[in-house]
């Protein structure tokens, strides 16, 4: 009977028995259900179609960001006087022109570049500083943790958007200033999340077990703690990316963002007289909306997919 079962499953049960000649326990098979021969496969939650649509949109954005200079687009700052201001959709200007005769499509693509670069670099600052400090803080504990947590909560208590507006008005809003300021304001958010996740992981028995095998603190932190913190960190980072892009849009709408093309600038410019130019607002607005929803959805799916707690047998 058992051999039939084994044969039905490709004979792995026999190898199982062959391997049990060790420490004198013939009843080992009771340890595993006899009908389950080899290791079961992990079934992680599926990503789903919508996830891949979102990834597709983000891929298009990434492509535009990287190759904006190589695409057959008009110069986003070039005034095409022949077309006239607020020109409608034409063969030459697929999305029309804005109020100073610039090509909307070109500005949309170059705007994607601005938004993504600010988003990515700002997030990198937040993740690098906030993530590292959060992990160290939760792992070292003690006074270091208390002092750092206190200063981070002070940072969180700051009304961030008002502070950002004040700083940028005073300091001037170049691309690097915006990246730095927005990045630094995400540090406490990421710090808090990573610290909590690290605290939850660092008290687990497998961390004690890793130490009991002689691993150094550095090794425990990066080899054992970090992989357990990473899924939530990555997911939250993607949300943060969306958040920074949205805030950049808001800053641009207030006239505090970069001087070049950005989605926020475009919405702001067209918003001066919505009645005439509603179609032109829709371009950057839809692009912004799709980007944010894609980032949020992708972040959530990645978290669920890689969360060890969500793995089903």
């Amino acid at each position: 009977m058992r051999d039939e079962v084994a044969a039905a499953y490709g004979g792995t049960t026999q190898t199982a028995h062959a391997a049990t000649n060790g420490p004198g326990d013939p009843d080992l098979a009771s340890d595993i259900a006899p009908a389950v021969p080899g290791p079961t496969t992990l079934r992680r939650p599926k990503f789903g179609v919508f996830f891949w649509i979102c990834i597709g949109w983000l891929a298009i954005l990434a492509f535009c960001t990287i190759f904006a200079g190589l695409l057959p687009l008009q110069n986003p700052n070039n005034n095409d006087f022949a077309a006239g201001i607020n020109a409608g959709i034409s063969w030459h200007h697929w999305l029309g022109t804005d109020q100073i005769d610039r090509d909307n499509l070109s500005r949309l693509v170059w705007g994607a570049r601005t938004s993504l670069i600010i988003g990515l670099l700002g997030t990198a600052i937040g993740m690098g500083i906030g993530g590292t400090l959060g992990m160290l803080s939760a792992y070292v504990r003690g006074r270091f943790d208390s002092a750092l947590s206190f200063s981070m909560y002070c940072g969180l208590a700051f009304p961030a958007i008002i502070a950002v507006i004040a700083i940028l008005s005073f300091w001037g809003s170049s691309e690097w200033h915006i990246i730095l300021v927005l990045g630094l304001f995400t540090v406490p958010l990421i710090y808090r999340l990573v610290r909590a996740a690290t605290l939850a992981t660092a008290t687990k028995e497998y961390i004690t077990a890793a130490k009991s095998q002689g691993a150094t603190s550095f090794r425990v932190l990066f080899h054992d703690v970090f992989p357990n913190v990473a899924p939530s960190l990555i997911a939250y980072t993607i949300f943060t990316l969306g958040g920074i892009i949205a805030v950049e849009g808001a800053l641009a709408f207030l006239g505090l963002s970069v001087t070049g093309p950005s989605w926020g600038n475009m919405i702001s410019d067209a918003g001066n007289d919505v009645g005439v130019k509603l179609p032109f607002i829709l371009g950057p607005a839809i692009a912004l909306f799709l980007t944010l929803i894609s980032l949020n959805f992708v972040g959530e799916r990645i978290r669920v997919h890689y969360d060890p707690g969500e793995v089903k047998l």
């Binding site: 080992l28 340890d31 002689g214 357990n228």
Partner: protein, 365 residues
């Protein structure tokens, strides 16, 4: 052995050139000597003495069972011996000499070089003591690569060999599994494989079978005994179950409220229980010889609050034989007059003292 025969094989010769002439034979080499170990946690309520002046010795290849109920300090004792306790609010006093080397107060890197290749630990809950994000083969191989500096390939092969040794079927396939894909018994086997990876001389098994069901328990215990015999490894077996240690240990140490209350070679302990607490533990264990539906005799009350321990004998509030002296003076650990290797901390030890209370008849439900 006849006179003039060639030198007997390995069991006498090896260490003779290093060891002094009158050194004990290698079978009984002293491996671990714990003297007056105290572990104090500073808590918001005040200092908590979880291990209070424990002394013990362990020879190579020997097994010591540490028994006590929850909160008696047995887990803290095993972690204190290893030095594996959170640093900031823990204070360790006394001495732990492992193979002549002092571990209390040793610096981190010394301890780390000992943890793994010389002392290893099997943890209580196999469900939480494996890292969920790494494949088990890798978890075993990492230890090997860290301490024995094996190449990745050799370490992976050794990991599979170890999985075979601990009785995991199709080990090469299993090495590629994540912990979540294994049952509790399997995970505990993996934990044992990780602990044994670097061939430790001392294994601390902290309730290694508590999280497992009874049939798997027996398998894991047999496995540990077998591997211990093969590797001539010393083992400290921490458990609350006297039944488990009864047949598998050379010596038993009974702990209560952080103190050793009775210790003796296993057979002698079971033959002549002296300390009422040990007796109470024995009575609270079900026996096959009892008629069915026999009520177990639970030990009344709860373990004492270690921040404010009772004066006198810590067990006196729960002891059916406690007299005034028990509540006033703490009994020292003394040798039994009849058996010099049997120690107990009791003013009125069972079988010796005159104070006798009628033994409760087991009530049948």
């Amino acid at each position: 052995m006849t006179n003039g025969a060639p030198a007997p094989p390995s069991d006498v010769t090896p260490s003779s050139e290093h060891a002094p002439v009158d050194a004990p034979p290698p079978e009984s080499r002293l491996l671990l000597e714990v003297t007056n170990l105290r572990t104090v946690f500073s808590t918001p309520r005040g200092p908590l003495c979880a291990v209070d002046g424990v002394s013990l010795t362990l020879n190579q290849g020997e097994t010591l069972g540490v028994v006590g109920e929850s909160g008696s300090g047995k887990t803290v004792l095993s972690r204190s011996i290893m030095g594996l306790l959170p640093g900031s609010n823990t204070f360790l006093e006394g001495s732990v000499r492992f193979d002549g080397q002092e571990l209390v107060g040793a610096d981190e890197s010394t301890l780390r070089s000992i943890w793994g290749p010389r002392i290893a630990m099997v943890f209580q809950d196999p469900m939480t003591s494996l890292n969920p994000v790494h494949k088990i083969g890798r978890q075993i191989a990492e230890t090997l690569r860290l301490h024995l500096k094996l190449s990745k390939k050799v370490a992976n092969q050794s990991a599979v060999t170890l999985l075979t040794q601990v009785g995991i079927p199709s080990p090469a396939l299993r090495a590629k599994s994540y912990p979540v894909q294994l049952s509790g018994g399997m995970r505990q086997r993996v934990m044992i494989a990780i602990a044994l990876a670097c061939g430790p001389e001392l294994l601390l098994a902290d309730e290694p079978t508590t999280g497992l069901d009874v049939t798997i328990q027996a398998q894991i215990l047999d496995l540990l005994a077998e591997l211990q015999r093969m590797r001539r490894m010393a083992m400290i077996f921490v458990t609350h179950d006297l039944g488990i240690v009864a047949t598998r240990t050379d010596r038993i140490l009974v702990m209560y409220a952080g103190k050793v209350v009775e210790t003796a070679p296993t057979a002698k302990l079971f033959a002549n229980v002296r300390m009422p607490y040990t007796e109470a533990l024995l009575h609270s264990t079900p026996r096959l010889s009892d008629p069915s539906h026999t009520r177990l005799q639970a030990i009344e009350g709860r373990p004492p609050d270690l921040v404010h321990p009772p004066t006198g004998c810590a067990f006196s509030p729960r002891c059916p034989y406690a007299a005034d002296r028990c509540r006033e003076e703490s009994p020292p650990l003394v040798a039994d007059p009849g058996e010099p290797d049997h120690f107990y901390a009791c003013w009125y030890p069972r079988g010796v003292s005159k104070v006798q209370l009628p033994q409760k008849e087991p009530s049948v439900v």
